[in-house]
Symmetry: C2
Subunit: 212 residues, 2 copies
């Protein structure tokens, strides 16, 4: 794993902030340099190019997120229900605590066709699905989950719902002119609603008997 100096981390932090707020393309190296209080040449000096800086950001967050997700696999849970709830918790908490990176990734992922970023995202999508699959199969083996369940569907719902909820929050908060503390409180409130209802919905879907 590559180590970064304090100054490099300072540039990366600033870049992530601006990339997520304004978008990668609309953020110039001069913007980053000014906000991070360093010379414009430092970005090229440390990272090689603007795109390499973006890749460094991705690598940095990806390694953290994937290990977080992988660790769930080794946890011993007492029931399939707890497994599902645990996964939902981890997804929500990870996406929420890394909102900036998540926003940046979601935005840039939509125009990628190849390259290192594409590969990283594809790998993460696959891992996400594997994780959901494991939990579902576990519940099916125990006979508590119905058999005709779609894993690709479930993973899409999991990630998609959280992202859409966060996007909606941004809009509502901006529209209601919420700032700082009250904005964060609003988002936190919404996320807790999401957490509770997503769990309930997943359990309902996984155990639902259409013959009432």
């Amino acid at each position: 794993m590559t180590e970064y100096s304090e100054k490099q981390l300072q540039i990366m932090d600033t870049a992530l902030k601006l990339f997520s707020e304004k978008g990668y393309d609309k953020t110039s190296i001069r913007d980053i340099a000014h906000a991070a209080d360093v010379n414009v040449a430092m970005v090229s000096y440390y990272f090689g190019s603007k795109e390499k800086l973006l890749e460094a950001l991705f690598k940095n967050h990806f390694s953290f997120i994937t290990t977080t997700l992988e660790n769930i696999l080794y946890e011993k849970e007492s029931s399939a229900f707890e497994k599902v709830e645990r996964i939902i918790d981890v997804f929500i908490d990870t996406l929420f605590s890394r909102q900036k990176f998540n926003q940046l990734m979601m935005r840039e992922s939509s125009v990628l066709n190849e390259g290192p970023l594409f590969d990283m995202i594809l790998e993460m999508k696959t891992k996400n699905r594997k994780l959901v699959e494991r939990a579902v199969k576990s519940g099916q083996r125990l006979g508590v989950f119905r058999k005709d369940v779609s894993v690709v569907f479930l993973s899409s719902v999991m990630i998609g719902s959280v992202n859409q909820m966060l996007a909606n929050c941004r809009y509502e908060a901006r529209s209601a002119k919420l700032e700082g503390e009250s904005k964060e409180a609003f988002k936190k409130e919404r996320i807790e609603i999401l957490r509770i209802h997503l769990k309930r919905m997943f359990i309902a879907y996984l155990t639902f008997d259409s013959n009432k």
Copy 2:
């Protein structure tokens, strides 16, 4: 409603294609002009600026989408279940048939804070939620849906799932090197999975009794 000449529509079509594929910022006016086989000055001549062209695209699709969604309100459905399923159908079909615009909108919406585009998107988000709310309340009045249901949650799941599924499809199709016909078939297949399971999941969530 503003009318557009054939040439203007040709530019708008090409712009939508390129904007959705490469992103708004990475698409130059020269790209559009070349692909649409017109002079670079024509974009400014007809639309005023690149951003105005984007706004024209938004207005064009928004007016269509919102009227489509509004029309559901006036439909007579025989049951609350059918209402929910009808909404899911319309959302999926609308998002699927307007994939390019949807992709463009999702991407650009994430970096908006104000302006006409922001207002349009906010209005659409509100309308979406109203639509879901109407169907849910209808089912609750009839006593077939449980009372403690979150509407903000449901609308996030609705839109978020479809978009995430489409995004995943793009990645998987690209990764499997699917092109043209087979790629469309793959997406269509996944969308039908989404349709069936989203309906089942919503009904399960809306009627689920946690006391088994």
